[in-house]
Symmetry: C2
Subunit: 334 residues, 2 copies
């Protein structure tokens, strides 16, 4: 038989509403009564119904984090610290994953079971932030931004990072440069490719189309890109990858093709996920402090939930260039 | 202003209870009325409140998956197909992560917001299944089993897998064998170490304590284990790792220490996560069909939710030995 708040009230010798107030730490309950109620609840093994509590307080202390597939190691690196930060603010994190090309459904995000939403994988043209705004659901964009959205946002300064990579390759003397871009439908993909290309041009280095590939942010994209480029004969001497996961795929393909990194090929990633520093990869990359970025997004959301009409904030986290073992001067031309 | 079911009722010209029944596809509503209500709901952008719906139907169509930190790539490989299978049965997956050594809290799992629970990271002595059972919450153990629990369970046949690894090493002629075990507080950790050790003994191969280390199922455990063993001077010629993530850490340490795999050291893992087949690792391992295991657990849970008193089922998924590039005969003794 399920224990109810009425049982607790009977044992503690108080009314049922007093039980609810005492367990919610609301004011107007004496410390002695509070103690008595808590002791009675403990004895009976009573656990308040979240559903009932949500209806009476209109708050659920739950936040949804919307993310692409977890199989991509980038997202756990972002979501673990995010969940930890939200937990520190007293919120439980519910993970909502979108699968494949379909965008996540709106309904579970606006059905009243959530106090707020963090969006981490929106396309630039996504209508999700607008729909959440229209329904008054507090939300924050993390990692990817959305065109024209008035939402709070926290993302990496992709422009600065991409410029640094272009400068690194130009400074090393590379003239045959390639790139494996992410999807142009994402802010991270389009910003990183645009500024890399622009800076290379400024530095007098071309980026010929035969050395450029594009695809989802997966290791398969990187593997297939280098395999395909190498099939064409002459390879570039340096390859900028739109994220670390793509770069790891490139390193795998290099291994299979017998291409020595960095002697024959310089490879540079973006993000600095945990695996980038593994000795077998030792990847030179643009470091984004993902934990810090996630924590800042948590703060933005908590502020937004507390002040729905407060000023909108857009944060850009400055990256650092992390020089490890996958970059070198180009091999001497034969 | 939030649209309510009363607004929909007014527009459709029906009563509010009829709106609820029509949107829930209950019997007793004519097709014409149903169409009119749905059209009215669509026009107004009405979305039924999940909280209210849960109170009236006592079902939430939500299932919690309890898992350790997502940063460990083993879990996404298990949880992605699990969420997909549950979604196919019409259930939304809520991910509940436990952090560090503390076990996940009971309260969010029994507060009435869930129809069922899948536990993937319980210790053998966990009281979670018992507590869920006591409160009538349908649950299934996936990947790890719990001592004495009468719950449905789906796990790998760790005994068979560990025996195969011992046979592989013995057949190759290894005599200096070591192991990096997982936590003995987990069924996976204890089963894999016990049967590996037992089979080695049967084959006349010893497992000296100086070649054995133990720790959490992380790459750091593997990295530190090989680094520490190597510091002692003489190394084993083969190392069995309790899971692939530990094995990847061992491969990283081997790289740093200049130990050639498999020429100097054979390394074998367990699980066959995606990265095990990456060319840079090419890890010989015990393959567990994680997607199949997850799907079977989803079926067990759906059956349990439909028939709380049905017979208990315990499934063991048979693994396969996957021979890749990290095993070889031991180097000739000097």
């Amino acid at each position: 038989v399920k224990v109810t708040s009425h049982d607790v009230a009977r044992l503690a010798g108080v009314s049922q509403p007093t039980v609810s107030r005492a367990l919610r730490d609301e004011v107007g309950v004496s410390p002695a009564t509070r103690t008595r109620v808590r002791e009675a609840a403990r004895q009976l093994g009573y656990i308040p119904s979240q559903t009932g509590r949500a209806l009476s307080t209109r708050r659920t202390r739950r936040v949804a984090v919307v993310s692409a597939e977890l199989g991509n190691p980038f997202y756990p690196a972002l979501i673990d610290p995010l969940a930890e930060a939200l937990s520190g603010f007293g919120y439980r994190t519910i993970l909502v994953t979108d699968r494949g090309t379909d965008e996540v459904e709106l309904e579970p995000l606006v059905d009243g079971s959530l106090d707020g939403v963090v969006l981490t994988t929106c396309d630039v043209a996504s209508r999700l932030p607008e729909e959440l705004g229209r329904r008054g659901v507090p939300h924050v964009l993390l990692n990817r931004t959305v065109r024209g959205s008035p939402a709070d946002a926290c993302a990496a300064d992709n422009r600065t990072g991409a410029i640094w990579v272009a400068d690194l390759l130009a400074d090393l003397g590379h003239q045959r440069v390639g790139a494996v871009h992410g999807p142009s439908s994402t802010s991270t993909g389009s910003e990183r490719s645009r500024w890399f290309r622009r800076r290379l041009t400024e530095r007098g280095v071309s980026l010929p189309q035969r050395y450029v590939r594009q695809g989802p942010f997966t290791d398969t994209t990187g593997y297939d890109a280098l395999t395909d480029i190498a099939r064409g004969g002459e390879c570039p001497t340096a390859l900028f990858c739109a994220n670390d996961v793509i770069a790891l795929g490139v390193l795998n393909a290099a291994k299979d093709l017998g291409i020595q990194v960095p002697r024959d090929l310089t490879v540079v990633g973006f993000d600095d996920i945990g695996m980038a520093s593994w000795p077998v990869f030792d990847l030179t990359t643009v470091g984004v402090d993902l934990a810090d970025m996630a924590r800042r997004a948590a703060v933005l959301l908590v502020q937004r939930m507390a002040a729905p009409d407060g000023p909108v904030r857009r944060l850009r986290v400055t990256p650092t260039l992390i020089r490890r073992g996958t970059h070198a001067r180009p091999p001497l031309a034969d």
